[in-house]
Symmetry: C2
Subunit: 114 residues, 2 copies
């Protein structure tokens, strides 16, 4: 998608602090971190929201969760724990309409989750 | 798992306000709701944390996300939006060690997510 910020990060057109990438998935630091570890993980495929995922692109979902484990391991928070958050559309607080998962850790996360 | 609260809910041994169930997944209202819609979705399979999911049980993950869309539709929040949250271990705020996704909606969710 020509005007999608996250597509531009995935293509390298816009720089980001990338912590992981492969052919399906790319992960980078959130520019407004809400925890000592705050990573955004996206599929390279432009899928607008989590509600647009279906059986055709479920592989992307599984890949993203595999990558979340890998990053948690790399950041040394796998055992202490972390929170995964997906915002869908307006009430969810989604700002960029390219589906993404927030991985937050390095501190005890509070409740409610927003 | 004999002593797992969520396994007991899945088996019907402990009652819950079930909003959806099939052979793989069951979903029920959170007993301490943090939003007008607050549903917990679990695989029937006892998997302790999201970090314990792997390629062998990735089908459970996809099923859970499919069910989250279905419940969002049923609760009439698909278009307005919602938030999905997965707490992993202590820092994530996980209380029941049977992997589950929180689906929250019916209000604008705030940031940070806990």
């Amino acid at each position: 998608m020509k005007e999608c910020l996250f597509c531009k990060i995935a293509s390298g057109e816009i720089p980001a602090k990338v912590v992981y990438k492969d052919e399906q998935v790319i992960a980078f630091e959130d520019i407004k971190p809400q925890a000592p570890v705050h990573i955004i993980i996206i599929p390279r495929t432009h899928i607008e929201t989590i509600a647009d995922m279906d059986t055709d692109n479920s592989r992307d979902l599984v890949d993203i969760f595999e990558v979340s484990k890998r990053i948690a391991t790399d950041k040394n928070i796998l055992e202490k724990g972390y929170r995964l958050v997906i915002n869908c559309r307006e009430d969810g607080g989604q700002e960029i309409y390219h589906m993404h998962i927030h991985l937050l850790g390095g501190r005890k996360m509070a409740w409610p989750p927003g």
